[in-house]
């Protein structure tokens, strides 16, 4: 009997450990590491100090009576919403709270040259008509730095604010409210040359940059929202090294000219219109070095570039594990794809509409094509470029396109059989939707984009695997043990 006890103890023990590892998973909240507080100017000695127990304990009155250009330091405490109508700097120390108690905006700025930093702003109203915002500003050179905004309808909402800066803020919308009914985390309207960086935005509707040229958006993190960043009619914009994870759409650019999208992480854009990067009628753009991972559609191209003579340049992107790597409408042309990696997308390139892709796109540039994980050619001369062209053909993909109901049979053996039959009998050969005549045999890897965060627990899987094997081993031992079934009789 002791042998049976030892085996039983071993198996039970391994399962206990495996069970424990389920709960021992690190509960650490995912963070892209991009958000950080930005450096602010030192507070001068002649700054006006306001606190709950000071002589100056009425914040709004202090602002109203202050001269232009002064620095007001607010030390801790809890304050009613304020409005600022002159150039000054409002600096929070020890996170003073501005609680709007569910009514109106937190801080309203109606002047140029205002700086607001270090405030904790909570619970704005819910009126879309009044655009209740954590911070609303209308004025040039406004700086919104290192604030915490939570439970806000709109976060930072600015208009006519050229040369402003929005940095180091955390903005979170109302949880438990569906995306469409939340406000925008950021809304920048008619404000040129705005710097938006190192912000952390969560659970809002969209973050908008509209009619604003030359804006520089970098190292922000947006999660759990609808449009990570939405640029509309904004020329010469730059979006660099942002992390856009688990939104409906990562970055969407509508209209506008000369846009740069570089080194961003676009991950987990899901839902019926999920897209990592959407390009709608954008004229002249560079999309380089992005890591585009696990989206419904990696890059969606709707008629970009729009005007004749404009070029879309897409290079050095890693487009991996998306349902569809690229989704392109048949009329889109003048795009150059070079030195990208197309890795393991369920469909590498999908034509959104009937017919073939326009032949006006280039899938290689000066003899450098792209890496395709499903390329089945070879590189005999060892120059890093495959000797036969890459062609994207799958009769099952074509069938799915012409008969959408057949998508139900994805990954079925019947579907594989049809593809196999088509390969064996060229009679059924599908039309290639693109041809890359110099495909790369080694995958270019991301250089500067933020890294994908994996939430897989290797410890847990290992413990489970070992427990399973121990259990099977014990089963075999039991089966071979004479008479054990009779309870040791």
């Amino acid at each position: 009997m002791s042998g049976a006890r030892i085996v039983l103890a071993l198996v039970l023990g391994s399962w206990l450990i495996a069970g424990y590892t389920t709960f021992a998973k690190d509960a650490e909240e995912t963070s892209s590491g991009l958000f950080h507080l930005v450096e602010t100017d030192p507070v001068p000695d002649d700054a006006i100090r306001v606190c709950e127990s000071c002589a100056n304990n009425d914040l709004q009155a202090t602002i109203d009576s202050a001269d232009e250009g002064v620095v007001i330091v607010v030390v801790g405490g809890s304050w009613a919403p304020v409005s600022i109508d002159k150039p000054l700097r409002l600096a929070g120390e020890d996170w003073p709270v501005i609680d709007a108690m569910g009514k109106g905006s937190g801080i309203t700025i109606a002047s140029a040259d205002v700086t607001v930093e270090g405030f904790d702003i909570r619970s704005t109203g819910r009126s879309f008509d009044h655009e209740d915002s954590g911070i609303y500003f209308e004025g040039e050179r406004v700086r919104i730095l290192n604030n915490r905004l939570s439970e806000v309808l709109f976060g930072v909402n600015g208009a006519l604010g050229h040369d402003s800066e929005i940095a180091g803020n955390t903005i979170s919308g109302q949880t438990g409210v569906s995306e469409g009914l939340r406000g925008d985390g950021l809304k920048i309207w008619y404000s040129h040359r705005v710097q938006i960086h190192n912000n952390d935005i969560r659970n809002v509707r969209d973050s908008l940059v509209w009619y604003s040229n030359e804006c520089n958006v970098y190292e922000n993190s947006v999660q759990g929202s609808r449009y990570g960043f939405h640029f509309m009619n904004s020329d010469d914009g730059v979006a660099r090294r942002n992390s856009l994870v688990d939104n409906s759409v990562g970055i969407y650019i509508m209209y506008g000219k000369r846009f740069t999208v570089a080194d961003n992480l676009l991950e987990g854009s899901r839902g019926p219109s999920g897209q990592g990067l959407g390009l709608k009628e954008v004229d002249g753009f560079e999309v380089t070095g992005n890591l585009i991972y696990d989206n419904r559609v990696g890059i969606y191209n709707d008629n970009s570039p729009y005007s004749i003579g404009q070029i879309g340049w897409l290079s050095d992107n890693v487009i991996a594990y998306n349902d569809s790597g690229l989704g392109i409408v048949p009329s889109a042309r003048d795009n150059i794809y070079t030195h990208n990696s197309f890795v393991e997308n369920l469909e590498q390139v999908t034509v959104l509409g009937s017919g073939a892709l326009s032949s006006g796109n280039q899938w290689s540039y000066e003899g450098v094509g792209n890496f395709w994980s499903d390329y089945s050619g070879y590189d005999a001369d060892g120059d890093g470029v495959g000797d036969i062209p890459y062609q994207n053909t799958s009769i099952a993909e074509e069938l799915r396109r012409t008969h959408p109901q057949l998508q139900l049979f994805r990954f079925s053996l019947a579907e594989r059989a049809i593809d196999f039959a088509a390969q064996a009998m060229p009679l059924f050969e599908a039309e290639a939707i693109l041809m890359d005549d110099s495909p790369l045999v080694n995958a270019p890897t991301p250089q500067n984009a933020p890294e994908v965060t994996s939430n897989e627990s290797t410890l847990h899987t290992t413990a489970l695997s070992v427990s399973l094997m121990a259990t099977v081993g014990a089963g075999i031992w039991w089966a071979r043990r004479p008479g054990a079934g009779l309870g040791g009789a």
Binding site: H403, L406, I418, L468, G487
Partner: protein, 276 residues
């Protein structure tokens, strides 16, 4: 019904399975194919750190769809008919054990054997991915384990029905293979063809498809590995509308209905046959 005799008979069935060349071949094939798939998954990622559900990983669904039903159907089809052919069934029935006990023990024994083969294949492959990639993509096999076990057992039950009505092992095996082809390939091809030739509404197509337990498994595994079935087009949307968060449970429910239904049918048929 005595639990002691069931236990003894189950042990005997397990020992028989370990000696059964068919079972050994299936288990070995499953293990080898799983490990090669693991190698392909690691290889396809190409560079450190990024892994996910891509076309290679999707091959796991195909692999399971191919082998698990083959294992279940043919082992199930052999079970009663082989004993009957060898005369051991009559010998056993002459002992103080009931047909119910024999039936239950045979089913349990084979179910455990199949579960063991699947568990070994999946756990060794998980460890292989771990060893090769250092962790990226390591969870994929085990996430599919519960559904794969259910598929193996469901097809085993269908195999028992075949076994209960067959006179000879050879004919039982033949019927098993035909049933496998029907469930895994021909049914789908027919439905695909029909949906192209005549207009079937997405809802109807969904219903006709998930009646097949193998298809229920396929759709459930997409849900399990991908957390959504938006990949499945119009019919996937219908499933979302109809069942919402319960979609996985509806599909699992279909498989459980097949499992219990086929087991009961097999027992009734076997009983009618042996006790007439």
């Amino acid at each position: 019904m005595s639990s002691r005799s069931v236990l003894t008979l189950t042990q005997r069935e397990l020992l028989d399975a370990l000696r059964n060349r068919w079972f050994i071949v299936y288990a070995a094939a499953f293990l080898v194919l799983c490990i090669s798939l693991a190698a392909m998954i690691v290889n396809s990622a190409g560079y450190a750190g990024i892994s996910g559900f891509g076309r290679t990983a999707a091959g796991l669904i195909n692999l399971v769809l191919f082998l698990a039903p083959l294992m279940g159907l043919t082992l199930g089809a052999q079970s009663l008919s082989a004993e009957r052919e060898q005369g051991t069934l009559a010998y056993l029935l002459a002992q103080p054990v009931s047909l119910g006990e024999i039936f239950l023990a045979k089913f349990l024994g084979l179910a455990i054997a199949i579960a063991g083969a699947i568990a070994i294949g999946f756990s060794i492959s998980s460890l292989a991915i771990m060893y090769w990639s250092g962790g990226a993509g390591v969870g994929i096999f085990l996430r599919l384990l519960p559904l794969t076990l259910l598929l193996g057992w469901t097809t085993l039950a269908i195999g028992f029905v075949i076994s209960a009505v067959s006179d000879k092992t050879v004919s039982a095996l033949g019927i098993g293979v035909v049933a496998w082809l029907l469930l895994v390939l021909i049914g789908d091809l027919g439905l695909m063809g029909a949906s192209v030739a005549v207009s079937i509404s997405p809802g109807m197509l969904l219903t006709l498809t998930i009646v097949n337990p193998l298809e229920s498994f396929r759709i459930a595994s997409i849900l399990q590995l991908r957390n959504s079935i938006e990949l499945l087009g119009p019919s996937g949307l219908v499933a979302n509308d109809r069942f919402g968060d319960l979609t996985l449970w509806v599909l699992v429910g279909v498989m459980i209905v097949w499992l219990t239904g086929a087991t009961m049918l097999a027992y009734v048929l076997a009983r009618r046959r042996e006790l007439q």
